[in-house]
């Protein structure tokens, strides 16, 4: 178990290193002209040179890279080009909104997806099953922002400007919390739920054909207990695996959802930073997201061995 965790962590570090190196060379080298952003349009050549020197950009690339890695190992993500604030605290300030969005949506989507999947597996080929299949295909076909936009349109096109004020960027999260978060949660959950419904349905159908389910039934266990205690536990393993893979997708969709609903989370931060070319912030967010993905996958693998005792972590 410990050896497994250590090995996975090592792989996670490799992933983070590859991601950070790739993004470092992308944003610092290819994008390259931060002094223009900092100095503004009227800066003289002399000012621009000074700024470059202050940021350490006049040094050879390899030195810059080494320095960047050194700072990273100490947990220092550097400062924003735009306002000089430490990147870590900029991300920290936005984290709450994004975490609330992601957690709320995850609960909705996991619970909704699994429940719909179980119901359509136990009623295979019924009307409900066909409806669920259609819903799955719709969910799989819809980009996050289209769902969000259509929701806004359907709900608020007739209600005048009540909706606009609700989703104006700015006010702190606590204000009108439930009113403001419900739609973003639903929009985000809807899209990912579809995949889980399909996955749970497939896994349940497989498991329900197993011998031990027949045994459980012939013991005279009530059908509900057979389905939810015996079958569901085994059917959950592939679903949980998928959950780990989807953390990355979820965070990607968060960027779009935040934009549509005017939520000031990490996603908005990175979009704004990209438009002004604030390289340290972009890099910081990408790394933070990659870290989340790595950790989520590790947790999923551990959860896996609890769900399926046959899986030995080694």
């Amino acid at each position: 178990m410990i050896r497994f965790v250590v090995r996975r962590l090592a792989f996670g570090v490799v992933v983070l290193w590859v991601v950070s190196t790739a993004v470092f060379f992308l944003v610092f080298v290819a994008a390259g002209k931060p002094e223009r952003v900092i100095g503004g349009p009227r800066a003289t050549t002399e000012t621009l040179r000074l700024i470059r020197r202050n940021l350490g950009l006049d040094e050879p690339l390899i030195v810059q890279y080494a320095r960047f890695l050194g700072r990273l190992l100490q947990g220092d993500l550097g400062q924003s080009y735009i306002n000089g604030a430490p990147v870590a605290s900029m991300i920290g300030g936005r984290l709450q909104t994004t975490v609330v969005l992601v957690l709320g949506a995850s609960v909705l989507w996991f619970a909704g997806g699994v429940l719909t999947g179980v119901l359509s597996a136990t009623r295979a080929r019924s009307f409900f099953d066909r409806l669920a299949t259609l819903f799955v295909l719709a969910g799989l076909s819809m980009p996050a922002f289209v769902v969000a936009l259509l929701m806004l349109y359907v709900l608020f096109s007739k209600a005048g400007d009540a909706g606009i004020h609700l989703f104006e960027p700015g006010p702190p999260l606590q204000e009108n919390f439930w009113k403001r978060m419900t739609l973003p949660w639903l929009a985000l959950a809807f899209l990912l739920m579809a995949g889980y419904t399909r996955l749970t349905r497939g896994a349940m159908l497989d498991v329900l054909g197993e011998d031990y389910i027949r045994t459980a039934r012939s013991k005279g266990l009530p059908e509900r207990r057979v389905v939810y205690r015996h079958a569901l536990r085994a059917a959950l393993t592939p679903v949980v695996t998928q959950f780990g893979v989807d953390v990355g997708v979820l965070i990607g969709s968060t960027i779009v959802t935040e934009k549509v609903f005017g939520l000031q989370g990490v996603g908005q931060l990175v979009v704004q930073s990209i438009t002004v070319g604030d390289a340290p912030v972009i890099l910081g967010v990408v790394l933070a997201v990659a870290l989340c993905v790595v950790v989520a996958n590790l947790l999923v693998d551990i959860a896996y061995s609890y769900l399926d005792p046959r899986v030995r972590l080694s």
């Binding site: 295909l137 076909s141 980009p143 289209v146 159908l205 990209i274 438009t275």
Partner: protein, 316 residues
């Protein structure tokens, strides 16, 4: 729904003709194929629409396209599907947008499939350290926060159609390579591979002649499901302003512009959104149909089990 071949037809039928026959009997899949054909025609005839309406995809018509308060004008004889916020024709722009969506969707999938198959076959067949490196590489690519990285790449190098295609293909090929690798690992152990080797076939020959043809079905299925993903990916990138260059109309960028006008101008939002959904929906259903056609077992199993259970319930 699916027609099992009647007994009298004894002439040999390849798996391909069988799959094709099954697909043709799948009504939903055929309808979605029809939708895809319509969207393709819509895209191909974009210049015709422009000539017909007298509006090009970037010409603004503020006098006729905007009402007194400066809001977009609705559908009319002049603008069949309404105008956008600066008085451009939504219909014509949507038609040009269809070109981008289909081009990016198909080209990115083709590229991802090509690289995915080559890398997957090499990785699965060669084994050893080559496999270790390639498989780990796939894992790394799959755990990238890809939307973020894609945005960064697009902004760094300037958004353009070829770049968007390459970026999307890069993040999709790993999924293809992983599936192919898995297939190759199981094909490799089959007896006919051993037989070929015993007959003295070289490794490249085995890969091309014995392994590759067996990959066609799973690759076709996965590729057909990657197309809608690529289309969605492109629309999302364009929506965030990091897709194709902003002067080219694309469904994603139209939706981005429409975001502020959805209350005043439903057509501005609904035309590109509807087209996008119809296209990805159709590709997904067709992809499902292709999978069922190649592997009809899954559906039969479901049906068989359901029948068995129903029978049991009746006895009870």
């Amino acid at each position: 729904m699916d027609t099992s071949p009647p007994a009298r037809e004894i002439q040999g039928r390849s798996p391909w003709t069988l799959a094709f026959a099954r697909l043709r009997a799948d009504r939903l899949a055929m309808i979605s194929l029809g939708v895809i054909v319509l969207v393709t025609l819509f895209a191909l005839t974009a210049p015709l629409w422009a000539a017909w309406t007298g509006h090009t995809h970037h010409s603004a018509h503020p006098r006729t396209g905007l009402d007194e308060s400066g809001l977009p004008a609705g559908p009319s004889g002049e603008f069949w599907l309404g105008a956008d916020s600066i008085g451009r024709d939504v219909l014509v722009r949507a038609a040009y947008g269809a070109r981008i969506s289909l081009l990016v969707g198909l080209a990115a999938t083709a590229l991802a499939t090509l690289f995915g198959v080559v890398i997957g076959v090499l990785s699965g067949f060669l084994g050893g350290w080559a496999d270790a490196v390639l498989a780990r590489g796939m894992d790394v690519v799959l755990s990238f926060p890809y939307l973020l990285v894609a945005i960064v790449v697009a902004v760094t190098f300037g958004a353009s159609v070829p770049l968007t295609i390459v970026v999307i293909a890069f993040f999709m090929f790993a999924a293809m390579a992983r599936v192919v690798r898995g297939q190759v690992l199981s094909i490799k152990e089959k007896e006919y591979i051993e037989a070929a080797r015993a007959l003295g076939a070289s490794t490249p020959r085995i890969m091309l002649v014995e392994v590759l043809p067996n990959l066609v079905a799973p690759v076709t299925v996965l590729a057909s499901l990657l197309v809608p993903q690529a289309i969605t990916f492109e629309a999302t990138l364009s929506f965030l302003g990091a897709g194709v260059d902003p002067s080219t109309p694309s469904w994603g960028s139209m939706l981005n512009e429409a975001q502020e006008y959805y209350q005043a101008a439903w057509w501005y939002l609904c035309v590109p959104a509807g087209l996008l959904l119809a296209t990805t929906f159709a590709f997904n259903i067709l992809g499902d149909g292709i999978r069922d056609a190649f592997d009809p077992r899954t559906e039969r199993l479901v049906r068989g089990r359901a029948r068995r259970r129903r029978g049991k319930a009746a006895k009870r």
